[in-house]
Amino acid sequence: MYNKTIAELAQGLRSGEFSSVELTAAFLDRIKQHSGLNAYISVTEDLALQQAKAADARLANGDAELLTGIPIAQKDIFCTEGVKTTCGSLMLDNFIAPYNATVVEKFNHAGAVMLGKLNMDEFAMGSSNETSYYGAVKNPWNINTVPGGSSGGTAAAVAARLAVCATGTDTGGSIRQPAALCGITGLKPTYGRVSRYGMIAYASSLDQGGPMTRSAEDAAIMLQTMAGFDDKDSTSVDTQVPDYSAGLNNRLDGLKIGLPKEFFGEGLNSEVAATLETAIDEYRKLGAMVTEISMPTLKLAIPAYYVIAPAECSANLSRFDGVRFGYRCENPADLSDLYTRSRGEGFGKEVKRRILMGTYALSAGYYDAYYIKAQKIRRLISEDFKKALSEVDVIMGPVTPSTAFGIGEKIGNPIEMYLSDIYTIAINLAGVPAMSIPAGFAQGLPVGLQIIGNYFAEDRLLNIAHQYQQVTDWHQQAPTGF
């Protein structure tokens, strides 16, 4: 049952093969059974069964939608009314959100069942899920390796079949990198495609929520529910949402794929490179034309990102001050003590590091040298993408330089950790959509292929991913024991 696609499950619910309550109970059992992965921060069992019951009633009434009764899970960055929303931090360990994020509201409206809230790097800052206050998440393909981050809980849960599908968020690769390391399908939509309202902000100009699923077909269904203009989010874009499933079966004859030479140079693991070569050959067989392109500004993405994202986060995280909600230190002596200790004790190391970097970059005397310069680089990168995507339909490349690394291997070396996002970060700076799809294995661990498209071309990306998944079965493989 837990290996079925959303469409198959929807069919099973309608044919009476199983009820949503039964389906939900089965997933809740699996979550308990595999709690060692530490994928969930909260399991909302009572709420899930309640929602499943309501879904069964809707199914019986015949007014169900495709996602009605389907057990999903939310990254714990999305506010869920009446449910603890921690963002992976001690700072919000006691925070029960009083409202629903727009994305959560949309899934509720569709009748999806929420199994719980998924583990993540603290405030989405991390590439290994090791910065979570709730502990590291284990990669189901090898429990000694990381699942990636920051949406590591989501990737592990979907790969281990502890939810049919789940939400992630991507600021610098946080959907695509864990999707690649856990062998699932992840889509970071165009900036502005999915509402950010109720999604706890890390770097507002880069954050974007998206689906993490086992297949492109499921991702299309999930994105259909998540996408759309929201008047509560000024940066959400008011353009029409296409039918993402409609074009999945379009043929790829004549598709122009560009491979930036900067993506395949030094630093890329040779086995990963070879795996990607094979995947790209598959596209050639599907009728695509592959050309090498050059995007010279890509190498500037990491430094620009590590100015812009920390700068924004330094302000975004100021509201966590111990005054109105969240963690407050014991017996503060005065206001300054309240601030200093609440924030000093409530935030973890990586979060503090980024707040300090951002504060520094915005300080008088440094602003022009860092923030303004980074914004200029950001514009150049966007121009590079626009130019490339006027010459080719999509850009393909690696998602990560290597397969999943060991737990504890990079956590002591922030620079090395930051470099694991080298292929994903530029996409967020440009704001274009990108996917990671399973493309094979290296050293027994999943390898992801990244597909980058033009603004609002999610439908095209899903089509390209789906066609590949019609001729390969990497996305259907499950880790041993799951």
């Binding site: 963002c87 309202y197 902000a201 940066t235 330094s314 302000a315 100021s318 001050d321 005054v323 109105r324």
Partner: protein, 478 residues
């Protein structure tokens, strides 16, 4: 004041915009609700919430910009001003820094009969913070976030005022303007209109500015004058006794009538402004401006000129009548409804009505005599039903009660007598009764004429038509 020194003053005025809802949320801006009942998730700065700009606030800022003939920025940007304070929920204030919505403009002020043009550097939109309540919370500080997110327009002047008097004139003129435009209720007690003053002194003739001190949060015209004068004296005394003014922020204590230091330049915050990534740039096109221009009310200066030209008013009356939009509207309605000569309407309003309102500490919107009732009275004066003198008596009655002028005239029998027969009989009687005065008049003592008029009016209880009485008396006494 010591004449070797001259003063340089610039003002930053914070005008709370009279929008229904907050600048970035849908919560109400009404004043005086129970603490924290008008603060929604956005105002509380809960995790995950986002600001959405209230278009009405933008409209009001543009209205203001047009009124001071300023450049309206086609592209302006909201920025985050970062600092920690318990009543600042997000740990930053959304404001505008590099690209404000309103650029360079000006405002003309009148001081001692001279008009002076004060430059306005800029005006920008921002959100207000909440309030910290230090009273009675078991030794803790209470936070009320009802005010958090209320839209403010910060209006920054050039340092072009040279006395406290000019500063007060500027502040008053600005106060008058924002209320005229309907963009701020101007309520200073509630903090809807308040200012910070930048004050420095320099030896007369020196070009460079002296070091300035900023006096924060002054919320009355009286305090602005006192605070600035106090600060000027303090700076001069300091320099003359060999000291140096330091750049700092000072707080005016109205109780003690002194300013005291809050923080020095060294302690000043680095606000780390940067563009707010949650908000798009504000784009203002020609269409938007044209729509607003069409809605723009007539401005005080233009209205004053029109009143002088169209109604033939003197400068003083026109100034008084255009001091507020409500008063100007009242005047124009009275002229229209009464059909009386505008100058007479103006005299009644600037004289009897305003005197009564001042005495009762009311403004025109609270006047017990509506424009309709005053027009009713003036109509009866101009059609000679009653004399101006009787009119004063009727006005008293209008002020006290609710009856119309006609009802009062009827009930009290105040109608003017124009029946020449009745007047003639009385005149004949008065002439017969006072042969001595008749003799005096006829021998050339013109002054005695007034005596006869008085006697006739007295006999007729003031109701005789004075014109008629004059004419007939003159004929009979020949």
């Amino acid at each position: 004041m010591n004449s070797q020194w001259e003063t340089v003053i610039g003002l930053e005025i914070h005008a709370q915009l009279a929008t229904q809802s907050k600048i970035f949320s849908g919560a109400s801006t009404a004043y005086g609700a129970e603490p924290n009942t008008q603060a929604c998730a956005v105002d509380l700065g809960l995790p995950g919430v986002l600001p959405v700009l209230n278009e009405e606030a933008v409209r009001m800022a543009v209205i203001f910009g047009m009124a001071i003939e300023a450049h309206i920025a086609p592209y302006s940007v909201f920025a985050r001003k970062n600092y920690f304070y318990p009543d600042l929920p997000k740990g930053y204030q959304i404001s505008q820094m590099e690209l404000p919505i309103v650029g360079i403009g000006h405002l003309d002020i009148d001081v001692d009969g001279e008009t002076k043009r004060i430059g306005i550097t800029r005006a920008h939109l921002e959100e207000d913070a909440g309030k910290s309540l230090h009273a009675n919370f078991h030794g803790l500080t209470g936070i009320d976030l009802n005010r958090a997110g209320t839209p403010l327009l910060e209006i920054v002047s050039e340092p072009e005022m040279s006395s406290a008097k000019e500063a007060v004139a500027y502040m008053r003129k600005m106060h008058e303007l924002v209320r005229y435009l309907g963009i701020c209720d101007g309520n200073m007690q509630e903090g809807s209109f308040r200012c910070d003053a930048n004050v420095s002194v320099r030896p007369k003739g020196q070009k460079e500015f002296g070091t300035r001190a900023e006096i924060k949060n002054i919320n009355s015209f009286k305090f602005v004058e006192k605070a600035i004068n106090h600060e000027i004296e303090r700076q001069i005394e300091l320099i003359e006794s060999g000291g140096k003014v330091v750049q700092e922020t000072r707080l005016y204590d109205a109780d003690k009538d002194e300013t005291r230091s809050m923080r020095s330049k060294e302690e000043a915050n680095d606000y780390r402004y940067f563009p707010d990534p949650d908000l798009l740039p504000v784009l203002i096109d020609e269409d938007f401006k044209a729509q607003i221009k069409a809605r723009l009310p007539e401005l005080p200066q233009a209205k004053k000129q029109r009143f002088k030209a169209d109604y033939n008013l003197d400068d003083e009356s026109a100034t008084i009548l255009t001091a507020s939009r409500q008063l100007a509207d009242y005047f124009e309605t009275v002229v229209k409804e009464s059909g009386s000569e505008a100058r007479i309407c103006a005299n009644w309003i600037t004289g009897d009505l305003l005197a009564a309102l001042n005495k009762a500490d009311l403004d025109i919107s609270g006047s017990p005599v509506s424009h309709k009732r005053l027009a009713g009275l003036l109509k009866r004066i101009s059609d000679d039903t009653i004399s101006g003198k009787i009119g004063k008596q009727v006005f008293e009655e209008l002020w006290q009660g609710t009856a119309t002028a006609d009802e009062i005239i009827d009930a009290k029998g105040l109608k003017q007598i124009t029946d020449t027969g009745a007047i003639e009989a009385i005149i004949d009687k008065i002439i017969a009764d006072n042969p001595g005065q008749v003799e005096q008049y006829r021998s050339g003592k013109d002054k005695v004429f007034g005596f006869f008029v008085g006697q006739v009016m007295k006999e007729m209880q003031g109701k005789a038509n004075p014109g008629e009485v004059n004419k007939m008396l003159k004929a009979k006494l020949q």
